[in-house]
């Protein structure tokens, strides 16, 4: 049962059809009985008329195919008859209506004894024709019912559709709500049936808003509470390095661990900020190439420290987007490329218009991602080869999850394919063209 509309129309129409047709059948049966009585009365009138004809005036003009037949018998002798009857009595001489077969037809018969003239009148009428006549008359009254059924179906469909419209409007209002809009529904719940759904939905939204506020507050507090001690740790470590300039393996590991901790906290906050519930996008017209160039410049030191060759090429490409989010996206892609490309490797970044929009491509000469893992790398906390990745780089597995979120928020798409180098991966983000983005 997939559609309420189809269910209502089918069931209502079936019940109506069933009742109307059964009623029509009952009506037909009653009408046929009534018609039978009328035809019998007519046959009696005919017999009475024949009985009162002057003696010897035989009605022989009735042809063989006439619907009426008769015989007049007096003291066992046939004194008058129509041309379409046999010479023997068509029925027994007992008064009343009956049925008889002669002349190749079935007849409704009447045996009538006329006391005044002392003779029997046996009158008959062909049943096939009398029923055909009666049926035709009755069917004329049934015929409009046949036409009314499809019209009724259309009418029921329209009425049910009209009745379900408030439900559709209610669904539209829910659908049109922004992801961060948890205000109560303003739809006027004038219908009794929808009032309860509306009240329940508003209570649910209220609970959801309270819960999200609590979560937002927690995230904000947690970010502050985590950043402060990490900052303090970094300062303390810096002071320690000043006091004891000779670097040991222990202090080096401590510095790396604190950096990693800081990175994880920042990534978690980025992931949180880019979730649809929290994302307050301020979309402006952005030159993606300029932005990419800025991010590349900011991250250059990372590539330089690993002696990696970074090439950038691009034309001015404009799109509507959130500057901070897009910078985070590129930063994550570049950081990922640098992390998994060995020392002395190469990374190419390009921004170009394509047939369908704007393509941002980051490709590296790293080991590449196996085909069966290309979909799963966007899952949170997923790392290719787990923590035993050949690069030996530490990470929290959130970078590409953040990238995917930002891609979705810009109605773009991301794909992974082998890079143009001997080995390696190419990440391609395709932004759709909007009217303003081509300005």
């Amino acid at each position: 049962m997939k559609s309420i509309r189809v269910f209502l129309v089918a069931v209502i129409l079936s019940i109506i059809t069933l009742f109307i047709f059964v009623a029509a059948l009952k009506g037909y049966q009653s009408s046929m009985q009534e018609a039978d009585r009328l035809f019998d009365k007519q046959l009696l009138d005919t017999a009475t008329l024949i009985a009162n004809l002057p003696a010897g005036q035989s009605v022989t003009k009735l042809s063989n195919n006439s619907t009426i037949a008769f015989q007049v018998w007096q003291h066992g002798t046939l004194v008058a008859a129509s041309a379409n009857v046999p010479e023997t009595a068509i029925i027994s001489f007992s008064p009343g209506f009956a049925y008889s077969n002669f002349g190749g037809y079935r007849w409704r018969t009447l045996a009538y004894f006329d006391n005044d003239n002392d003779h029997w009148v046996l009158a008959a009428e062909r049943t096939d024709l009398r029923y055909a006549l009666a049926e035709n008359v009755i069917l004329e009254s049934i015929f409009p019912i046949f036409i009314s059924i499809p019209l009724l179906g259309i009418l029921i469909w329209l009425i049910v559709s009209r009745g379900l419209r408030p439900l559709q409007k209610f669904a539209n209002e829910l659908e049109s709500k922004q992801a961060d809009d948890l205000s109560p529904l303003t739809y006027p719940f004038t219908y009794q049936e929808l009032k309860q759904i509306g009240q329940s939905s508003n209570r649910l939204l209220e609970r959801l808003e309270t819960s999200l506020l609590r979560e937002k507050q927690f995230a904000s507090d947690a970010a502050h509470e985590l950043r402060t001690p990490i900052c303090a740790l970094k300062i303390q470590l810096h002071n320690l390095a000043d006091d004891r300039p000779e670097e040991t393996a222990g202090t080096r590991e401590l510095t790396d661990t604190i950096d990693r901790l800081g990175h994880v906290v920042e990534q978690i906050l980025d992931l949180y900020r880019s979730s649809p519930d929290q994302f307050n996008a301020s979309f402006t017209n952005i030159n993606l190439t300029t932005l990419a160039r800025e991010v590349v410049a900011r991250e250059y030191e990372r590539f330089d420290s690993k002696n990696q060759l970074l090439e950038f090429e691009g034309e001015d490409c404009f799109l509507l987007g959130d500057q901070f989010a897009l910078a985070t996206l590129m930063q994550n892609l570049l950081s990922n490329a640098s992390k998994y490309t060995p020392e002395g490797g190469q990374i190419n970044v390009s921004v170009h218009y394509s047939d369908s929009g704007i393509d941002l491509v980051v490709e590296d000469s790293g080991p590449g991602i196996p085909e069966d893992e290309r979909e799963t790398v966007f899952e949170r906390f997923y790392r290719v080869g787990r923590d035993r990745h050949a690069s030996g780089e530490a990470g929290c597995g959130l970078g590409l999850a953040i990238v995917k979120r930002i891609v979705e928020l810009h109605a773009a798409s991301i794909s992974i394919r082998p890079s143009g180098f001997t080995t390696g991966t190419a990440f391609q983000v395709s932004f759709p063209l909007t009217r303003k983005s081509v300005l």
């Binding site: 079936s14 047709f21 059948l25 037909y28 055909a132």
Partner: protein, 270 residues
């Protein structure tokens, strides 16, 4: 004339509508579309037209008992297909697992398509032969057409109500209703097949073992409805009663076996 048309068309339509309703209710379990049904109906109408057009030739087979023997063969095939439909349905339901449903989905649709196709071939050919008999008699055609519309309308309406009645049942109640209807339908088919073979003198009949005409006449509208829905006969022969019971028992045994073969025993789906 009108009543005769109503009764004949209603009887045939109701049988087909009942079968299609039950198979559609099963189809809900598999979550498939209804393309198989459209294919079966269109195919069934085509084969029924072919069968009706060749009826006189078919009748001459087996020393002029060809029509009876062919009908008996069709009815027996429908019974066997109903057993297969029951089996696939219950295997899927008792497993209560999407993968199992997908595994049995194709088989069920194949069996259901064949069942509907054969049922429509038989019912449709009888309707067509009846209608063709009146096609050239203009004086009766109007009455016969009206009777056919009324019979068809009532049959389809009852079918739709049975379908949504089955849809409204939940879990094991729906399964119980479906299997009960299929069992009665299988019994009805086997009983009709036996009657056809008795008429063809392929099976000997020792006469009626009871006569319930005084309670419910076979010729009345209610009697005809009961015949279409439950296979009611006022004067059945012993062979027919045995065939009817065999059909019911076969469906019930198949169902029990299908349920027993799965260790989850329907709990997952219930």
């Amino acid at each position: 004339m009108l009543l005769n048309s109503v009764i004949l068309i209603l009887q045939e339509t109701l049988e087909a509508a009942l079968l299609i309703s039950v198979l559609l209710a099963i189809n809900l379990q598999f979550g498939g579309g209804v393309r198989w049904l459209i294919l079966a109906i269109v195919g069934g109408l085509a084969t029924s037209a072919l069968y009706a057009s060749q009826m006189s030739r078919v009748s001459e087979w087996f020393e002029y008992t060809g029509q009876e023997v062919t009908n008996a063969l069709l009815q027996t095939s429908i019974t066997l297909l109903i057993l297969l439909c029951s089996w696939t349905f219950l295997r899927c339901w008792s497993a209560g697992h999407d993968k199992v449903a997908a595994h049995y989905s194709f088989r069920f649709h194949l069996f259901a398509t064949a069942t509907v196709l054969l049922a429509i071939t038989r019912e449709g050919s009888e309707i067509l032969v009846y209608l063709m008999g009146f096609y050239h008699q203009a004086s009766f055609f109007h009455t016969m057409a009206s009777g056919s519309i009324i019979g068809f309308g009532i049959g389809i309406s009852v079918g739709v109500l049975i379908l949504y009645g089955l849809f409204s049942l939940q879990g094991k109640w729906r399964v119980a209703a479906i299997i009960s209807i299929l069992a009665l339908f299988a019994g009805n088919m086997l009983s009709q097949a036996t009657l056809q073979l008795i008429q063809a003198d392929w099976i000997e009949s020792a006469g009626a073992i009871w006569n319930s005409s005084s309670l419910l006449s076979e010729e009345s509208l209610a009697g005809k409805l009961m015949y279409a829905l439950l296979g009611y006969e006022a004067t059945p022969s012993g062979a027919q009663v045995i065939a009817y019971c065999t059909g019911i028992i076969l469906v019930l045994l198949t169902s029990m076996l299908a349920l027993k073969m799965n260790p989850t025993n329907g709990k997952a789906a219930a």
